[in-house]
């Protein structure tokens, strides 16, 4: 899960969820909007976590974000049901004016070619450990309650009390403070609540990952000093 603060499912989480879904005949929709197209080192998060969805949604990396386009892939069973309904109702009554817009689709096709021709997955697998190990290097920092991440996405959750994992009151907006410190030092990172996150372009170089990590280290110290000075710790 990305926007929730980069929550990586524990081992066997989805295995168990999928068994329950199957038992109760519940469809499984997998949202690959963030994880799809290489972010985790596989082409899709489904491959990383062994997911067998009925429907997959994808966007963002589909066009490298250059133009707005998304796709929904549906299983044969779902297509059959739509077909059946069309025979009764006469139309599959869903769609958008710009569904499959040619220019967006052309950019998406080109992005897929680039991923393949430049071995983007190999690139992600080569550099992702630098980010993950680098972020885990901050685990001992007094503000860091937990380090999470996988592939080229990761986050540090800031806490008031490291031992008890007590969060800061949200109204202090410490996440925004550290995000602004990073920006001041030349890196755009995003705080989701009090989790400072990184998810750089997949083409990032090792030296650029090091630069991000240096900036995070500096911003963490400044944020700690700020929180101390304000009496928030």
């Amino acid at each position: 899960m990305g926007t929730g603060g980069i929550l990586v499912p524990p081992r066997t989480y989805f295995e168990k969820i999928q068994a329950v879904l199957k038992r109760h005949d519940v469809l499984f929709i997998v949202d690959e909007v963030i994880c799809g197209f290489g972010r985790l080192g596989d082409m899709f998060g489904c491959q990383t976590f062994g997911l067998k969805p009925d429907i997959i949604t994808m966007a963002k990396g589909l066009s490298s974000g250059y133009l707005p386009i998304s796709a929904v892939l549906v299983s044969e069973d779902i297509y059959r049901a739509c077909l059946e309904e069309s025979s009764k109702i006469g139309v599959f009554g869903h769609g958008f004016t710009y569904s499959g817009h040619p220019v967006c689709a052309a950019v998406a096709v080109e992005a897929l070619k680039i991923y393949e021709e430049t071995d983007i997955l190999g690139q992600v697998r080569a550099v992702a450990p630098l980010l993950q190990e680098g972020l885990r290097g901050f685990a001992g920092h007094p503000l860091v309650g937990e380090v999470r991440g996988i592939g080229l996405m990761g986050g540090l959750e800031l806490v008031k009390d490291k031992a008890a994992k007590t969060p800061f009151p949200p109204e202090l907006n410490l996440g925004l403070f550290i995000e602004r410190r990073c920006q001041e030092h030349g890196a755009i990172l995003r705080a989701l609540g009090d989790t400072l996150t990184a998810a750089p372009p997949l083409i990032i170089e090792p030296s650029e990952i090091e630069q991000i990590l240096r900036i995070i280290g500096r911003a963490l110290d400044e944020t700690y000093d700020h929180a101390s000075a304000e009496g928030w710790l």
Binding site: Y98, V107, T197
Partner: protein, 229 residues
């Protein structure tokens, strides 16, 4: 200068002032924005962006997780330009199609991590997810299971977030029966070690139990906060 501009008592002239005068920003604290203004990004270079003052930043979050290939990819620009000249716009309604969308669908089905039959296109991940939910309802309607409308998503997820946004009063398209309004949505605890499921409440086991509607002996019944939109 025309009459209109001469008549205006105040003309904001910096990009920041004009932004604050005219733009309503998504996902933004509007009070803070009105006071401080935006970071105005004017160019991209590799994985960097450059602001209006010429300051460079590493874009460490790919914009909104999206810009996988950096902010200056010549091939993507050329692909857009070629298509602009060839067929800049067309739709796919009522038996129309075009080669580029066909090629994209074919590639995505081939690339799919699970066996899939067809690709439907939309313009954003939000629309794709709204579509997926409609399709799940549509599928169950087709099978005569019209009451099967519940959506289970993890708390904190993008899906849950969308469920809380105003959906407006779009008319139901044909084929989506009137009952297909955003229905009950269950919030499944997210696997967040610091705050919940994994550590404090038994994690996966607990989540799976609530997912299946079974009771939790420690808490009595199904998640109390579960049923809300």
């Amino acid at each position: 200068m025309n009459e209109l501009t001469e008549a205006a008592p105040f003309l904001p002239n910096s990009a920041s002032a004009r932004d604050r005068a005219f733009v309503l920003h998504p996902m933004t604290n509007l009070v803070q924005h009105a006071a401080e203004g935006p970071l105005i990004v004017t160019r991209g270079e590799g994985i960097h962006i450059v602001d209006e003052q010429g300051r460079r930043y590493i874009e460490g979050v790919s914009g909104l997780w999206s810009v996988t290939l950096g902010f200056h990819n010549e091939r993507l620009a050329q692909a857009a330009y070629r298509q602009m000249l060839e067929l800049p716009s067309y739709h796919m309604f009522r038996f129309k199609s075009h080669p580029t969308a066909i090629e994209l669908a074919e590639r995505l089905i081939a690339l799919s991590p699970a066996p899939m039959s067809k690709a439907f296109f939309a313009n954003s991940g939000s629309e794709a997810n709204d579509t997926a939910i409609k399709l799940a309802w549509y599928y169950n309607n087709a099978l005569g299971r019209r009451a099967k409308k519940k959506i289970i998503a993890r708390r904190l997820s993008r899906r849950r977030h969308r469920q809380r946004q105003p959906h407006g009063a779009r008319p139901q398209p044909p084929g989506f029966r009137p009952a297909d309004r955003p229905g009950p949505a269950y919030g499944l605890s997210a696997p967040l070690a610091l705050r919940g499921a994994r550590r404090k409440r038994g994690g996966v086991r607990d989540a799976a139990r609530r997912h299946s509607g079974e009771t939790d002996p420690r808490r009595g019944t199904r998640d109390r906060r579960g049923l809300h939109r």
